[in-house]
């Protein structure tokens, strides 16, 4: 009910396409084509890929929602539903919007409700019949929205450059069949969006490059792998080299080694890989090596569900590594913020010579939305350097605990020591030595806190009596839920998680607060309870690996604030 009224009142222009099929049928690519179509119409769009950890078979789908207004999430009620196989048809019947049109592969679904297209038969005359099916998605959307074949052809040629001729012919066959079978078209208004769409991972990679990253080390692990792929394909033009060594342990230790040479290094992984990096993370804390760790979460524990989303690693990120040492943990609330925050973090870890963590989730890493950034607005790396030659102490005592850096070749000897050390960097276990170096590092903790007090550390969206605390990619879901439902509420999203900006967060605490997160143990809510004494009226949580569906979330919020 809420859904209908919200669309009626708030966003008449919302338009969602869902395409489902088997892995290998080109579902993801079909989503990309649909996104491109929306961008050509200058509409804002959000694309979410739901896929399994397998190469062929199974069930994958993509949901692309678009609007003439800025949009923060995909929706699960489709104006156009395209089912390439039987399982999709059965799965997505409930995802049809009231005025939506359901297309299915009539070679696989007999007596289906909606519009059947014999996709398998049509594709048989082409070389790679299985792979080509996804092209049908853009053909159907083009036909249903009354666009012409020229428009379709240019899109297909752009998105499917491999096997261009086959894809073009196939797409036109499908188009003609659809035009013959439909009795109405759906209107798609032009918008005013001039942005491109980016995944969170691309945004992180671009942000790192903007800050002046030199080396990116990673071992493949979903959902962080596409950062590695991005740098491997495009890094050279930004001066970034991608390195894929034998394990996450090698990744983290190599990244630390690179900082000793003066190179800015970053690593990316998911929970399991980050667990293997625990000891190196602690080493970075001890030797004061500035490495930025990107942790893109998926459902755990253990291997969990590799291709889905969850916020179960918050506690892990906050407490990574053995021993006492300062670190910075942040989490971006949208793709655009991911760009600037990655650059900020690279700059900060070098400023304070501490390890840092950019915590995100599959939903932000791999979904894409429209965004625009100005690279010249990104922070860059400007560490405090040792001046002069001769005598050098790697761990010299200073007021703020930050010892100036020097890199080889250098006249002064530079000793980075993973055992407790004196200012020269030589090993010590004396009582005074241990206490003094602990205090030096702890001064940086205080300095970081002071620095973050001067920055925007919390995002506040909207206004209203009701306050919703959330963080990370769930911020996207909450913002879209409010946008599409018209519910008035203030969204409070801490960008920094350690140190946690309690001074800002406390301003928003009241007895009507609710928390939205994707953790069964409600780790975020517990953190706020511990740190700012928040006693939420309600905690809305989801832990099925799927991001919140905004309309469903809006209903839950409505219920919670009633």
């Amino acid at each position: 009910m809420l859904y209908k009224s919200s669309r009626g009142v708030e966003d008449k222009g919302l338009f969602t396409v869902i395409i489902g099929g088997k892995a290998g049928q080109g579902v993801k690519k079909a989503g990309e084509a649909v996104s491109k179509y929306f961008l050509k119409k200058r509409r804002y769009a959000f694309e979410m890929d739901d896929y399994q950890s397998l190469i062929r078979g199974g069930h994958n789908f993509v949901s692309v929602s678009s609007s003439t207004h800025e949009i923060f999430s995909h929706h699960m009620k489709a104006e156009v539903l395209v089912n390439l196989d039987k399982r999709s048809y059965d799965t997505h019947r409930e995802h049809l919007a009231p005025e939506g049109m359901n297309f299915f592969n009539s070679d696989e679904v007999k007596d289906g409700r909606g519009i059947g297209i014999p996709l398998t038969e049509m594709s048989k005359e082409f070389k790679r019949p299985g792979l080509i099916l996804g092209v049908a998605g853009i053909s159907i959307l083009t036909a249903v929205t009354g666009e012409n074949k020229e428009f379709l052809r240019s899109l297909v040629e752009e998105i499917y450059p491999r096997g261009k001729q086959d894809n073009t012919e196939f797409s036109e066959m499908v188009y003609d069949d659809v035009v013959d079978k439909i009795d109405r078209t759906l209107e798609l208004k032009e918008g005013d969006c001039s942005d491109n769409m980016f995944t969170g991972n691309t945004s992180v990679a671009l942000g790192g490059a903007a800050a002046g990253l030199d080396l990116y080390f990673a071992y493949p692990m979903t959902p962080a792998s596409t950062i590695l792929h991005f740098y491997a394909s495009h890094g050279e033009k930004f001066g970034v080299t991608a390195v894929h060594p034998e394990s996450e342990i090698a990744v983290a230790n190599m990244a630390i080694g690179a900082t000793i040479a003066g190179a800015r290094s970053m690593v990316g992984t998911s929970g399991g890989g980050f667990a293997l990096m625990a000891e190196a993370f602690s080493l970075a804390g001890m030797i004061e090596s500035p490495v930025l760790f990107v942790l893109s979460s998926r459902p755990g524990p253990a291997t969990g569900a590799p291709t889905y989303t969850e916020q179960g690693d918050l506690g892990f990120a906050l407490h990574q590594g053995h021993g006492d040492f300062p670190r910075i943990v942040v989490s971006p609330g949208d793709m655009r913020e991911a760009f600037y925050l990655t650059a900020d973090m690279l700059s900060l870890v070098w400023k304070y010579q501490v390890p840092g963590i950019l915590l995100t989730e599959k939903h932000l890493s791999e979904s894409s939305m429209c965004m625009d950034v100005d690279p010249s607005g990104a922070s860059t790396v400007e560490p405090r350097m040792h001046e002069g030659s001769g005598e050098y102490n790697r761990y010299s005592f200073t007021d703020d605990g930050i010892s100036p850096l020097a890199f080889p070749p250098s006249q002064g000897i530079i000793k980075w020591n993973g055992e407790e050390h004196d200012p020269r960097g030589l090993t010590t276990s004396s009582a005074e030595g241990l206490a003094a170096m602990h205090e030096k590092r702890d001064k940086k903790r205080k300095a970081i806190c002071d620095d973050i007090r001067k920055r925007r550390s919390v995002n506040v969206y909207g206004s209203g009596e009701n306050v919703i605390f959330t963080y990370g990619s769930t911020t996207l879901s909450v913002r879209e839920a409010l946008r599409c439902s018209g519910i008035e509420a203030k969204v409070v999203q801490p960008i920094y998680l350690r140190p946690l900006p309690t001074w800002e967060l406390k301003k928003h605490v009241d007895d009507r607060s609710i928390v939205v997160e994707q953790s069964v143990a409600q780790q975020f809510s517990t953190l706020l309870e511990d740190k700012i004494g928040l006693e939420p009226k309600s905690v809305i949580k989801q832990y099925d690996g799927r991001p919140f569906e905004p309309v469903e979330l809006a209903e839950k919020i409505q219920e919670a604030i009633r």
Binding site: N196, F198, L206, A209, A210, G212, D214, L215, F217, H234, K237, F238, G239, T241, V243, P245, E246, S247, I249, A250, N253, M254, A255, I256, G257, A258, T259, I260, A261, G262, A263, S265, E279, A280, L283, I287, V373, D374, P375, S376, A378, T380, F407, P408, P409, S410, Q411, I413, I414, K415, W416, N417, G418, E419, H421, R424, L426, T427
Partner: protein, 280 residues
């Protein structure tokens, strides 16, 4: 005479420990390398954890005292950060052939231009003498009071099959010879490995055995197979370079002639490239 390669830190190795021979060989090698235009400010060391690692505190050279088993990973990171540096990683047999074996084999496989020196004493000495990967079957230690039931690994054969392009064995009791091996290893363009027979006077005092069995190799073996066969013999202990070949190195394959810390583009240029790529 003052020793400018000595930090002045107190040496805590046992009197007579083979580690002193390795330290002396290294210092001698640094001076020899300087004669050959490899200045000491371009030498960077990396050490693991164990008795061997204490060389970090004694040698007055820049570097990192890394984690147990991770010195070879750290060393590779330094090399990729600045390929103009010469990196020497010191490891122990427990550390480098046990905990960190994967890093060692992959460094050999990719032929990254670093040198690894393993202080092979056949025991975990710093943790009071447990059996290590190179301890013989029957080795008695606090964790194997009845004798180890595991046979040892043979490190040189392992490195040869992993693809190392410079494989040598040294003896801590032959400082001049070991020093010369270190110089050759550092100068070798690619991955160089030296396994050093290092008696521990407390746990594995094999000076007599080594003095009896060690003999200097007269020539480098022509093929990998020949070198592996030589590595497998145990009645004698040949020391010297077992095998050497030149191949393209990982660091150059990956970075070309570039140097990440020296060839940075200006902020303006980088921002411009990013902006342009985002518009596409």
């Amino acid at each position: 005479m003052s020793d400018d390669l000595d930090t002045g830190a107190e040496k805590t190795w046992c009197t007579g420990c083979g580690n002193f021979g390795i330290l002396a060989s290294m210092k001698k090698a640094v001076k020899e390398l300087e004669e050959r235009d490899i200045s000491r400010d371009r030498l960077v060391i990396s050490t693991g954890i164990g008795c061997h690692g204490k060389i970090f505190d004694y040698l007055n050279l820049s570097g990192i005292y890394s984690l147990h088993g991770r010195e070879v990973a750290s060393a590779q990171g330094i090399k990729l950060g600045n390929p103009d540096l010469k990196i020497i990683a010191f490891g122990g047999d427990g550390d480098c052939y046990g905990e960190g074996l994967a890093h060692l084999l992959f460094a050999a496989k990719r032929n990254i231009d670093i040198t690894v020196i393993v202080h092979n004493n056949g025991a975990y000495a710093l943790t009071t003498g447990q059996a290590s990967p190179t301890s013989p079957k029957g080795f008695k230690g606090p964790a194997t009071p009845e004798g180890s039931v595991e046979p040892p690994i043979e490190p040189l054969g392992l490195l040869l099959s992993a693809g190392a392009t410079f494989v040598a064995r040294g003896y801590a009791g032959k400082v001049e010879h070991l020093s010369n091996l270190i110089v050759q290893a550092v100068e070798h363009p690619g991955f160089a490995h030296i396994d050093v027979l290092q008696p521990s006077v407390v746990f594995t005092d094999r000076y007599d055995e080594y003095n009896d069995k060690v003999e200097e190799l007269k020539e480098v073996k022509k093929t990998r197979m020949d070198a592996m066969e030589l590595a497998g013999i145990s009645d004698r202990l040949p020391v010297g370079v077992f095998y050497r070949e030149e191949k393209s190195t990982y660091d150059r394959e990956l970075l070309g002639e570039g140097n990440p810390v020296e060839d940075r583009m200006s902020d303006e240029k980088r921002f411009e490239v990013i902006k342009r790529s985002m518009e596409m």
